[in-house]
Symmetry: C2
């Protein structure tokens, strides 16, 4: 499987070049860097689907034929072959058109957003929808073309499964959001005090280390949008953003990305440079099995651990040491309530734990409707604003704060939004099972996160991409994706916080 | 020539991965990074020598047949074909053995150097010599096998040409070194005061910008050994080292690397991603035409500009602003004399401008003698120590300060040392011609380095790898490599400094 190792190397190299472009590269380097990234991406794909690789896979399959179907080698070979079929089904001309559309799209979108001019972005979006419909046809699907587009990010998820899931979430969570709207807000003035950026960096890093992020195989940098990226399990980097007058942005950004980082750092070393540490369909060097599974780990450490009362009962003293002036007149309980303030807003990436999913559901439903033709691009702002009104009770004042806010569609990409909510649901399910273990529960109240992390390593991280997301969930919790633990968590937490 | 663009992209990606490994990578990432780098290096070579690339070159050659032999396209094709022949002559097994020897060698060498144990490194060095002799045979040469090994770094240079050059340098410079040994030392205590590292970083960067290093296409980082590396002319990075009690290390490290950086930043943009910005023989994405030519630019800006009295007559006031406590009781003249102190020592990388070449000549002569068999590895320490005594009048106390000091041989590499002295000589020659121009001379005394840089861009930088080093020199100065201007510069400078 040396060819798979080389594909992994190329994709990791591509990731390094992209990380560097976002963190270190001087501005003049952008254009030639784009060419370097593109050359690596094309070479990785070409190497994967090459006759030589396919011959080697055939030979390996013959050699391994006696092994059971679920043997590591058999699963790797099957995954590689399935990915090759996926790529060979997509004509090069279609990929080329998407790349071209993406590079124009980002420029047009940035201008449209700045100028609140949806009409100028609409033609790009129409082409994006048409192109993704073509893409869905060549990839194939049973029921809904949008299923084919989600496959790359959340294999197995369909419009039908999401309809059930989203219905249940809306039913359970909308009453909570509405009830909170009637309640007084907690104190949160102290979060908006001046927090020096170098202190924020040190504190965010300390909290990331506290939950187990390994700095011998990691580092924290600064970017406009926080992200995590790994170049094998041995080099897993995170970034966060720093706002001198809003400290939670850097803190929870770092905890979120550290959660992603723990997943990658925990993949079995034996899977390094194999298909179990390479998304051969998405052509991305990653050990997490789906975008949703990945998000489950970031949301678990950010929300279930980092926004819990138990966490701040222990670590608020450290926060006060870092910020004696800013937090001197604040109690741990006030801090806990402030970082969990629920406040419906227009912007997804600024949403609180409870309202976040509504932003996601609205986008996913809209994407599916665009793809099956039941919604037209020209009617999109109206549909968007109606949903924001329905879910969050807000009147969207302009498209910049509405339909133009996300970068995703401008890159020619459709099908990625559901992962965020699946991650939340999966986090709730895993956390419920894990915290039933008294050792883990005791660790959470005493500030020892090793037992919880060990649970995640055992049931999620170490397996890399070996099992599907739902197989992982069945093995870890006894059942596939189930929203009830997540709903119970939010209901319990917010009922208590807002005395509902 | 799209294939050449891809080779350049891969080699640039390899450079980015190596830069990252030295500046940013967490320690845990080393092993898998090694595999990623190796995969890129192998793919770049394979792509260059592939049947497909050769067919494309043949087709391009037919298309361009009507153009004159020195047309850009013809030269590019000829260079690519020559590089392919070079690589195809070297058996894969030989490359493999050198890689393996290099990875063992570095470990054995580091231990031997730490423990002052030449005997434990000798077997590695014997294998390195034998392997390089094999390498010389397959590459081919007319007179001396060492010529074949220098080809990759300094095409056209031979043992015969170096014999003449080194003889003349020794004859002219040894009397200077000896005469200075009889003279009193200048004051230099203030260079050893405490200089905070963040101030050093700012000052070094300011001086690099002063000579024209473009930060829109560059950045300065910290490493143990300073270096420059480019990822096309649009992203040219430098590093320096910081010693809190020896400020010149960071300052002249940065000026030296900025000199390298100016070369790469000055290559014609039309040559980006072409053979004129790619060392296809050395498989390294670089615009400089030889290692010696590159060194001429670093030494020119470090020594002819940065260690000149005129430079500090202007910029010493800035130095005092940065370091009011450290330099408050110092004059510009004292500073100038201190940074030009001549003091024979054991370590090449710490040598002053005048004694540096003796370290280089000694290594080059020893390498040539090892390769032709006239010197045996076991006799190496004795030969080394005898030369240090002869040239610098010093008794080498141990091999750690002698024959074990350089990393070069441990990586399986022989043939790279002469570049340093060729760079010095070439810098002297170019500087003499340039500074005859009254506008350039006026700029040097008034602190405007644009005219000198414009000369270098016109005569050296912009051409990238289009012309050979000596063709460049003939075009710029009217003659090929000539040590007399360099000798005149050192004689004038040191005679005045030490009242010889």
């Amino acid at each position: 499987m040396d060819a798979m190792g080389k594909v992994n190397d190329l994709l990791n190299a591509e990731s390094i070049l992209k990380w560097d472009a976002r963190t270190m590269m001087p501005p003049g380097g952008a254009v030639t860097r784009g060419k370097q990234v593109s050359t690596l991406a094309v070479l990785a794909r070409d190497l994967l689907v090459s006759d030589d690789t396919r011959r080697k896979l055939d030979a390996a399959a013959r050699e391994m034929a006696a092994k059971p179907e679920d043997a590591v080698e058999q699963v790797m070979i099957a995954q590689a072959r399935a990915a090759i079929d996926y790529h060979l089904a997509i004509p090069a001309s279609l990929l080329q058109r998407r790349t071209e559309l993406g590079s124009i799209g980002q420029v047009v979108w940035a201008k449209a957003r700045a100028e609140n001019d949806f009409a100028s972005f609409a033609p790009i979006l129409e082409q994006t929808v048409a192109l993704n419909r073509e893409m869905a046809e060549v990839i194939g699907y049973s029921e809904h073309p949008y299923d084919a587009l989600m496959f790359r990010f959340e294999p197995g998820e369909t419009v039908a499964t999401l309809k059930t899931l989203f219905g249940r979430l809306r039913e359970a969570l909308l009453p909570l959001v509405r009830a909170i709207g009637e309640k007084p807000e907690p104190r949160f003035d102290f979060l908006r005090r001046h927090y020096p950026i170098d202190r924020q960096h040190q504190f965010a890093l300390k909290m990331a280390e506290t939950v187990g992020y390994d700095l011998n195989r990691g580092r924290l940098d600064t970017t406009v949008h926080p992200f995590e990226v790994s170049f094998t399990r041995n080099d897993v980097r995170i970034t966060t953003r720093f706002n001198p007058t809003y400290m939670p942005a850097s803190l929870f950004g770092a905890l979120h990305e550290a959660g992603h980082g723990l997943y990658e750092q925990g993949v079995d070393d034996a899977y390094t440079r194999t298909p179990f540490a390479t998304d051969l369909v998405g052509l991305y060097a990653v050990g997490g099995v789906s975008f949703g599974a990945h998000e489950s780990q970031s949301r678990l450490w950010e929300n279930h651990v980092g926004r819990a009362r138990a966490f701040w009962n222990i670590h608020f003293a450290t926060a006060q040491e870092f910020y004696p002036e800013q937090l001197g007149d604040v109690t741990a309980e006030e801090f806990y309530r402030a970082i969990n303030r629920c406040k419906p807003g227009f912007i997804r990436v600024e949403a609180d734990e409870l309202t976040y999913d509504f932003h996601v559901m609205l986008r996913t439903d809209i994407e599916a409707a665009l793809i099956d033709g039941s919604l037209k691009v020209k009617d999109l702002p109206e549909a968007w604003n109606a949903k924001i009104k329905e879910y969050l009770g807000l009147d969207v004042p302009n498209d910049t704060l509405g339909v133009l806010q996300d970068v995703h569609w401008s890159s020619g990409q459709i099908g990625t939004f559901c992962n965020y909510t699946i991650g939340n649901v999966m986090a709730g399910q895993l956390f419920e099972t894990a915290s039933r273990d008294p050792v883990i529960a005791e660790g959470l109240s005493s500030g020892n996160y090793d037992p919880l992390r060990a649970f995640m390593v055992e049931h999620v991280h170490q397996h890399g991409r070996r099992y599907s997301r739902d197989t992982l969930l069945v093995k870890a919790t006894g059942r596939p994706l189930d929203p009830e633990p997540y709903i119970a968590h939010l209901t319990r937490k917010y009922s208590e916080l807002y005395e509902l």
